[in-house]
């Protein structure tokens, strides 16, 4: 298969997945309940006439097919509507949560990738060593540990008992500016980012380790050794580049989840990101926000998968030819 046909096939596949996600989101969240009923009982206490007016105001008085057409049209033009709960434009609501999430999940993904791959490579290359045994055990423990529980333990020890870090939030309530503000945010970032890093790195380490072990048994590695290539060069130039392929897919897949936030960790540490927003929007049946968040989330996953597919085809010609 030629390169452009390979690329076109994946781009079309990504686009069709996105359209399906759009339609699926719209219908899925309408099965949950009526937001006007929720508002009526919890805060507004409206009579039927006022409820109808609110339905018209929110655009949910029309038949579902018409709502769907309007929704698709608005989404294509970038009009995401207004949050039912806060009344603010959805783009503004999401925009205010985007940076904290990118900062948190991005930092954790970066650190967990680098540390995880390093652990995996080192462990595999010295299989059976104390480092390998210990790091494999640690990776499995962190991989299987619920992030919420791990976060809570770190919070109790380092925020509550020792008082080294804040127990929650994105920044201190004191008004700070400049470098003091940045240092303050980093201080708040530490525990949630550590939780996510520990939660993620086990997966990277384990996959990198097993992938490298597999490659180490290949003929070309044996050949390189037989040729007298230095051990370090065998690892760096022959083994690791080939073992990186499955890990490469996993890394890009994880990048796609960055925008989705980390619902549990953001909730544990009161981190005002997309994950927490998603939880709150679902709880209050805030359809416009839910739809927009899931669209953003899905689009990011689809986009990074597309990039991974395209790069994978470039890096490994066997995939392109398949």
């Amino acid at each position: 298969m030629t390169s452009w046909r390979y690329a076109l096939r994946h781009v079309l596949h990504a686009l069709s997945t996105l359209v399906f996600v759009l339609a699926f989101n719209f219908f899925l969240f309408r099965l949950v309940g009526d937001p006007v009923t929720l508002l009526t009982r919890s805060s507004l206490h409206l009579d039927p006439k006022e409820q109808q007016a609110l339905r018209e105001e929110l655009g949910i008085d029309q038949p579902v097919p018409i709502q769907f057409v309007n929704y698709m049209g608005d989404t294509v033009t970038g009009e995401l509507g207004q949050s039912f709960a806060s009344g603010r434009p959805v783009s503004e609501v999401i925009g205010s949560r985007l940076w904290p999430t990118i900062l948190l999940v991005g930092t954790a993904t970066l650190f967990s990738t680098v540390i995880g791959l390093w652990i995996g490579i080192r462990g595999a290359w010295r299989r059976g060593s104390a480092f390998d045994t210990t790091s494999l055990f640690g990776s499995l423990v962190f991989y299987s540990m619920p992030e919420g529980w791990l976060g809570m333990m770190l919070l109790i020890v380092f925020a509550g008992a020792l008082g080294w870090f804040p127990a929650g939030g994105y920044q201190s309530v004191e008004p700070l500016t400049g470098f003091a503000h940045i240092a303050d945010v980093l201080h708040h970032l530490f525990l949630p980012a550590l939780t996510l890093t520990l939660g993620y790195l086990g997966e990277y380490a384990i996959i990198m380790r097993s992938s490298l072990l597999e490659v180490m048994g290949e003929d070309f590695v044996q050949t390189a050794r037989a040729k007298g290539v230095r051990d370090r060069d065998v690892r760096r130039r022959h083994a690791v580049p080939n073992a990186l392929l499955p890990t490469f897919t996993l890394v890009f897949y994880s990048f796609g989840f960055i925008l989705g936030g980390a619902v549990i960790v953001e909730t544990v540490f009161s981190w005002p990101g997309i994950g927490l927003l998603t939880f709150q929007a679902i709880d209050s049946l805030d359809y416009p926000v839910i739809q927009a968040v899931f669209l953003l989330f899905s689009a990011a996953v689809i986009a990074f998968n597309l990039v991974a597919d395209l790069l994978y085809g470039y890096i490994d010609p066997r995939v392109r030819e398949a």
Partner: protein, 594 residues
């Protein structure tokens, strides 16, 4: 391995940047912050700074501090006391009230507050149908302001609404007038920061889901506070809130779970406290009539069945097991915090926990036939006594209580099929009437009117839990609304509580206490309102006005944790690790080359 080396460099660079930033940050934050800040931990943020979007406790606390009302609440028993009005004199027919308004109250922006602002606020709510407050302004009232210190409230029917009092924050006409007549969406969309009011504090900053800040405004009618600002920090879980209190990052942790509350007892520099219960958890039957989909079990209309279920419910066990003792057993449809109005149902009249009696009542009621599974059968409809029960999961303790009740009901041949639902789903079920009973809760005002209205026929699909209808209760409710002598009204309200208890349209299961804790090394001077009530989130501002820093408070306990030193520590640790890695790498390279 070039990639790995690059990645290591990125990590090292990141660490170095952190060092730089931390150093710079540490240097700047070293300057002392002389503001006296009272930090409160909450789990629920305000929905909006706009009072017309008020929903829950956080907004009402914000409004209490930011605005004044026509009347406030007396500390001892929460009965009305003058606030903006020095007095309101009713006419003999109680259809006209003439109120004297204070002339020494200023808005936060320096303008004078007058009777016209009060009249504007009430008209603004009625004309623009701002339903969150309209119930406080019944019988199509009109308002006249012959001068700046006189408000005349005229009602189409006799009422005590002006002195109930209406829980309505008075807003400044000069700020809100441009919104008058605009769509409700536009009014509720008004950002309202800084929120110009006349109260002792002003909302000046709101970071959604993080914190909101209220600065003290001297010269208000409550005097001048020692604290400069109150900051409410939002925690998404109670554990984090407690840890913040332990570490001194907040001064007061509001609304804790019994387990966390107990974990703080005996901790140095922390005092725990529980207040007089201000809400109740309930088991509400659905009587149907909401709409075509409503399908409650027909046996619910039989008083004998409801009484049997009441006898088979061990409220003390609910208090002990679910609330771990941090609640009172429920009886009346008012709460102990209603003080004067609350009727403690005499023990002799209560449905005591008695499985044998419950079985006997059901036998006498004709529920003698059973299914092969032992479930009693309703003799009238022929349906087994199997009920669709919704514990509302957002309500703390509802699911656990439902599980306990399910066990007790099995002992009297009744099946409870539990269907836990979120609050949002519960609203949908509630509107459709597609359930037999739910477990939820109610709060309410110090005045009993609202809580009584829940049981009125006309409140089906309004405030009613399950569209219960009882003419005696309807009549008593109407009577108390036109009984102007307080003691006479009390008798009517008592009778209402007795009938509501006997007829069991719902069971008040427990009056949970709000559990809180505060640091004793930060502030002193907390005032509880009433005497066994809460120091904050009460109905008064006494604590905020009376709090003073503890003299011996150290700098460490005053400002939470400082970022700089720890970031430097982390950075140094990171550098040490990086240095170790480099040394090991070199050593390994030498080994490889050897």
């Amino acid at each position: 391995m070039k990639g790995m080396r690059r990645a290591s460099l990125v990590l090292a660079a990141t660490v170095l940047i952190v060092v730089g930033l931390a150093g710079a940050g540490f240097g700047q934050s070293a300057s002392p912050d002389e503001k006296i800040t009272f930090r409160v931990g909450l789990q629920n943020d305000i929905v909006s700074p706009n009072p017309f979007k008020a929903c829950c406790s956080a907004e009402y606390e914000m409004m209490l501090l930011n605005y004044n009302m026509l009347f406030g609440f007396k500390r001892e028993d929460l009965t009305p006391v003058p606030e903006l009005a020095t007095e309101c004199t009713p006419s003999s027919d109680a259809m006209t009230y003439t109120c004297n308004i204070r002339d020494d109250v200023m808005w936060h922006d320096g303008e004078q507050l007058t009777s016209r602002d009060i009249a504007f606020t009430y008209r603004f709510i009625i004309d623009n149908e701002l339903s969150v407050f309209t119930d406080y302004l019944p019988y199509n009232p009109t308002f006249e302001t012959p001068d700046d210190t006189t408000l005349i409230w005229k009602s189409e029917e006799p009422t005590f609404a002006p002195t109930l009092p209406p829980y309505i924050p008075i807003i400044p006409e000069h700020i809100w007038a441009p919104l008058d007549g605009k769509p409700a969406k536009q009014i509720k969309g008004f950002e309202n920061i800084p929120a110009v009011g006349s109260g002792p504090f002003q909302l000046v900053e709101w970071e959604p889901d993080q914190f909101f800040r209220m600065e003290a405004r001297p010269g208000n009618l409550f005097g001048t506070s020692t604290i400069d600002e109150v900051v409410y920090q939002i925690f998404q879980n109670k554990e984090a809130e407690v840890q913040a209190l332990r570490a001194g990052q907040i001064d007061y942790a509001y609304d804790l779970s019994p387990t966390l509350y107990k974990s703080l007892q005996g901790v140095e520099n922390i005092k725990t406290l529980h207040d007089s219960p201000s809400y109740y958890t309930n088991f509400a039957w659905n009587f149907g009539g909401q709409g075509p989909d409503a399908d409650p079990h027909p046996a619910i209309h039989d008083l004998a069945l409801r009484q049997a279920v009441a006898h088979a419910t061990d409220k003390q066990a609910i208090v002990d097991v679910v609330w771990q003792g941090a609640a009172l057993t429920g009886d009346s449809i008012l709460k102990p915090s209603n003080g004067f109005w609350y009727l403690d149902i005499p023990q002799a009249d209560e449905y005591d926990f008695n499985i044998d009696e419950a079985n006997q009542i059901l036998d006498d009621g004709g529920y003698t036939e059973r299914t092969p599974d032992g479930i009693r059968i309703d003799p009238k409809s022929g349906e087994p006594l199997s009920f669709d029960i919704l514990p509302v999961t957002d309500q703390e303790g509802a699911t656990e209580t439902a599980e306990l009740m399910k066990g007790w009901m099995e002992q009297i041949g009744i099946e409870f099929k539990l269907r836990p639902v979120s609050e949002s789903k519960a609203y949908v079920e509630w509107e459709a009437g597609t359930f037999d009973a739910y477990l939820w809760s109610w709060g309410g005002d110090p005045d009993p009117d609202f809580n009584m209205s829940i049981y009125i026929t006309s409140q089906c699909l309004g405030w009613s839990d399950g569209c219960y209808s009882n003419k005696t209760l309807d009549d008593l409710y109407a009577e108390q609304r036109t009984t102007f002598d307080k003691d006479e009204r009390k008798q009517v309200v008592d009778e209402f509580q007795r009938v509501a208890y006997e007829e069991v349209p719902e069971m008040v299961l427990a009056y949970p206490q709000i559990l809180s804790a505060y640091r004793t090394d930060r502030f002193e001077g907390y005032v509880r309102s009433p005497a066994d009530g809460s120091p904050i989130f009460a109905w008064r501002v006494d604590s905020y006005m009376n709090l003073k820093p503890v003299t011996a408070a150290t700098e460490d306990s005053g400002g939470g944790v400082s970022a700089g030193p720890w970031l430097i520590g982390i950075a140094v640790g990171g550098l040490a690790l990086a240095a170790g890695a480099v040394i090991m790498k070199r050593r390994r390279s030498e080994e490889d080359e050897a």
